[in-house]
Amino acid sequence: MTFPGSLDDGDAGRAVRIADGDAVSLWHGDADLRGVDAVVLPGGFSYGDYLRCGAIARFAPIMEPLIDAAHGGMPVLGICNGFQVLCEAHLLPGALVRNDHRKFVCRDQRLRIENASTAWTSAYEKDQEIVIPLKNGEGGYVADEATLDRLETEGRVVARYLEINPNGSYRDIAGVTNERGNVVGLMPHPEHAVEELTGPGTDGLGFFTSVLESLVAA
């Protein structure tokens, strides 16, 4: 999916191909999902993020069929800016705010996969530790206490930061899912860890193989 200002759309496509899927480019201005089986909302700065991150992208024409499809069970992964868009579109609870240290941060981040049963994480073991790049300026995950408690008790925290909390996210939350487990938002970038050559490893590939396996199984 490409919004004006999307940056990691090509990388997301490459990750899908490396996982043996067919990557199809979707355009924000089309109200058509072109028959795809799953959607990745990539990282970047949609519309420059001059308002609130993802706040304008959620009104793009393509978001209407996407929201319907997500409610119908289609796997949707929002990475970084894509996570912000999913929160703005109310497909996921909470919001993402400016990093607590107020600077952009790019680092290889260790995570623990806490929910290995979503459409996007089934290739991992529960509590598996992975290292993938993290890069954001507004990646602090926030929600009210009641929402956070509910996410914890329902097992909807998908991944948590280990070693350091890079952006001030509440309860070290790096990613969350919806009740059904088909929509996942993740602040770090699995699509940048799919080749030994260009990433810190290939720990991110599991997100893309997971969704392909779940689609084949279904």
Partner: protein, 753 residues
């Protein structure tokens, strides 16, 4: 508001004009009157003044820069597809790919307004690359500041770094390397040099020209506003005085989101084959774009200035012509293609307006509200500005400086003193970890970054199938250049060349960003002339043409110039990026070799600077034949898998190279001092044409055989282990954790972490 038209100008020849305030000299103003046969209109005066400024016209540097044009226009891997003189030179890197790269300074704006100054520096160089028809694929930034603990550095550095990051990150371009250097001479005049690299297929090369009578001139991108008016002539050509007018409004304001749209939109326009000519908007805005385009094509152009979309409707025509509003481009399009052009711009939400037409009048004419306000021969604005043979002379203090050699400085002796010296060195501002800066830059975006900072060079993959890729490094050492500008420029070239070579790449081409003080000072002009001569001679010897570059003069505070700082960028080619050599030690048991000859060389060294605040003597000797030999060894070793790590030796010597190699993956190493070498000289000398490499044990015979066959000095100096310490046998032992603490604490402590 009365407008100064061509007609008025003809009728009022004696009307006084503010040419001096606009930075023109009396003789320059007279020349404009001669060219036009009348006094210029105020709009014409605005155009000439910005285009004839030092920043745009290179009037003081041109006579020296010609040396670069005399170099063979060929690289070790092929011909140049476009040379110096275009926006950026274009290099054939094989498999039908061409690469273009260039560096540019944004020094003065970054001092006035660090965030926007640095951000728009990145934006400007990216548009230069885009205007060649290339897709920008990476950026680097070469930064210099005052002392790390000076209060003003705490204002300038965070703003500059956030600006470079804020703009580059939002554009989606990986930042793969650069430099951060601290020296008191940059306290009132920081250096912000940004480099961009782009890639294209050979057939997609586009050169700026406005060919074809009747073709339409389209301005697209951002609206024109009141920012950056006179930025080029006023900001870039004047030195900073403590008194004087407030200059803040002269700095441009960047919109990286618009630039991202402009990139995608422009590449789609190129792909559609409907661009006959194109020019980015850099310094001097519309004045530059129209005069450059007109003089490159049929020689004539008519522009209707009222059609330029404005952010501020009160702007006067002179201001519109001078505005440096960012994120704008100008294209020349055949009439039949205009509709398609507009459709593509609309798809990307980019505003586009036809503002003029190409003709064969040999004049650039501009009208405003129905009246002619500009009527000039475009070449006189763009290319035939004044050229000065500024007087230059070796300063009288140069001999004294070179005579003050570091030989009398007290050296550490014994293991304990060497140990504490090493810890002090790795924590010093110029040798400590740059993570505080580089962690604010996205190095992963686009998914082709194979190596990025803190590696010696950035390596970017061009082709996923074949693995073809490039390596890039920028370097400079202002202290070396102060001691001897000719050698200083060659040392910068040698270091950048070596940094590219250690990755296994073949170095092929050079760009530069020459930062110096006032050209009106004969001592500075001598430094400049010597540096250019040194760089040109060095490039000739290495077979690497200078494909483009930038000169920034007037970098001084009052009478005090910055250290002469010729920043040199070298581009290398890797046939297969899988074969690249990183610098970090990883595998215990691999043997550590020192390549090259170590001499007692401490003039301008980091040790003399850190420990004794001393600058004197001569910089290390340059041996470009040895650099070339070393590069070939490193290239072959990478291709044949003979080395698992390779690290350039430069500032801080072998000690610094070993520390960085060990810290990369947290392994240990046991090292011994070679026979006949003094331990201090071994650890801290900055002799050139050297590298540290790690060799897997089974490859040792082949590796030493190759070095021996080439008669290149190679010495077994240690072995990688997993003992968690750097041990120099018989001298000292430092745990890796202690090294790491020393190396990583300095910048966070200075800039508030």
């Amino acid at each position: 508001m009365t407008v100064d038209t061509v007609e008025t100008a003809t009728k009022t020849p004696e009307q006084p004009q503010p040419w001096a305030e606009l930075g023109l000299k009396a003789n320059e103003y007279e020349r404009i009157r001669d060219i036009l046969g009348r006094r210029p209109t105020s709009s014409e005066l605005a155009m000439y003044s910005v285009m004839w400024s030092e920043h745009c016209s290179y009037k003081s540097s041109k006579v020296h820069l010609r040396r670069f044009g005399e170099l063979r226009q060929e690289t070790p891997v092929g011909k140049l597809l476009a040379g110096i003189g275009e926006n950026a030179g274009v290099i054939d890197v094989g498999e039908g790919y061409a690469v273009t790269f260039k560096a540019e300074s944004h020094n003065h704006p970054s001092y006035v307004e660090p965030y926007q100054g640095a951000a728009t520096g990145v934006g400007g160089i990216v548009r230069d690359i885009l205007a060649m028809g290339a897709r920008p694929i990476g950026v680097m930034d070469s930064l210099r500041f005052g002392p790390h603990d000076a209060p003003d550095t705490a204002r300038v550095l965070p703003g500059v770094v956030a600006g470079v990051g804020g703009y580059g990150n939002c554009l989606g371009l990986p930042n793969v390397g650069g430099e951060v250097v601290f020296d008191p001479s940059y306290a009132g005049n920081p250096l912000v040099n940004a480099l961009c690299v782009g890639v294209m297929r050979h057939e997609d090369l586009h050169l700026a020209k406005a060919a074809g009578v009747g073709n339409q001139v389209i301005l697209y991108g951002a609206r024109t506003g009141g920012d950056g008016i006179g930025g080029a002539s006023i900001l870039a050509s004047e030195t900073f005085e403590s008194e004087g007018p407030v200059k803040r409004p002269s700095v441009q304001v960047g919109d990286p989101f618009m630039e991202k749209l402009l990139i995608e939109c422009t590449l789609e326009l190129f792909a559609a084959g409907i661009i006959s000519g194109i020019q980015d908007f850099g310094a001097a805005g519309l004045s530059c774009a129209t005069s450059e385009l007109a003089s490159a094509g049929e020689g004539g152009m008519h522009v209707i200035l009222d059609r330029v979309p404005l952010r501020d409707s009160t702007l006067a025509p002179e201001e519109i012509l001078m505005s440096e509003s960012q994120e704008r481009m100008m294209a020349v399009v055949e009439p039949a293609d205009v509709e398609r052009f507009m459709e593509i711009c609309a798809k990307w939400d980019v505003q586009a307006d036809v503002v003029g037409e190409v003709n064969d009048s040999q004049r650039l004419t501009i009208e405003w509200r129905g009246e002619a306000i500009v009527d000039v021969p475009p070449r006189t604005v763009a290319h035939e500005g004044p050229v000065y043979e500024r007087p230059y002379a070796r300063p009288d203090w140069q001999d004294e400086l070179q005579a003050a050699t570091p030989s009398s400085l007290v050296r550490p002796s014994g293991g304990d003193e060497l140990r504490s010296t090493l810890l002090r060195m790795v924590a010093s501002p110029n040798l400590c970890s740059r993570a505080l800066v580089t962690d604010q830059y996205d190095r992963y975006v686009l998914g082709n970054t194979v190596l990025a900072q803190p590696e010696d060079a950035g390596v970017i993959r061009l082709d996923e199938e074949s693995g073809l890729g490039i390596a890039l490094s920028t370097d400079a050492n202002g202290r070396y250049a102060k001691l001897d500008p000719y050698l200083g420029a060659q040392l910068a070239l040698a270091e950048a060349y070596r940094n590219v070579a250690v990755t296994g790449a073949k170095p092929v081409a050079v760009t530069d960003c020459l930062n110096f003080g006032s050209p009106e000072d004969p001592a500075v002009m001598w430094q400049f002339a010597e540096a250019v001569r040194g760089l040109a001679d060095g490039c000739q010897k290495l077979g690497t043409p200078v494909t483009g570059g930038n000169v920034s003069l007037y970098n001084q505070t009052g009478e005090t110039a910055i250290l002469p700082t010729p920043v040199v960028g070298v581009l290398g080619v890797l046939d297969d990026v899988e074969r690249r050599t990183p610098y970090g030690f990883r595998s215990p048991g691999h043997i550590i070799y020192l390549l090259g000859e170590t001499r007692d060389e401490f003039g301008g060294s980091e040790w003399a600077h850190v420990v004794h605040s001393h600058l004197g003597g001569l910089p290390p000797a340059v041996d470009l034949d040895a650099e070339r030999e070393l590069a070939e060894i490193l290239h072959s070793a990478s291709r044949d898998g003979l080395v698992s790590a390779a690290h350039d030796i430069s500032d801080g010597g072998v000690a610094q190279a070993l520390v960085e190699s060990v810290l990369r993956h947290g392994v240990g190493a046991r090292v011994w001092v070679p026979d006949g070498l003094d331990p201090f000289v071994f650890l801290f000398s900055e002799s050139t044409a050297r590298a540290v490499v790690a060799v897997p044990h089974p490859e040792e015979v082949r590796f030493t055989g190759m070095c021996g066959a080439r008669r290149f000095p190679h010495e077994r100096i240690g072995v990688i282990d997993d003992e968690g310490a750097l041990e120099v046998q018989g001298q000292f032992n430092i745990p890796v954790d202690e090294l790491r603490r020393a190396h990583e604490a300095t910048l966070p402590a200075a800039f508030g972490e």
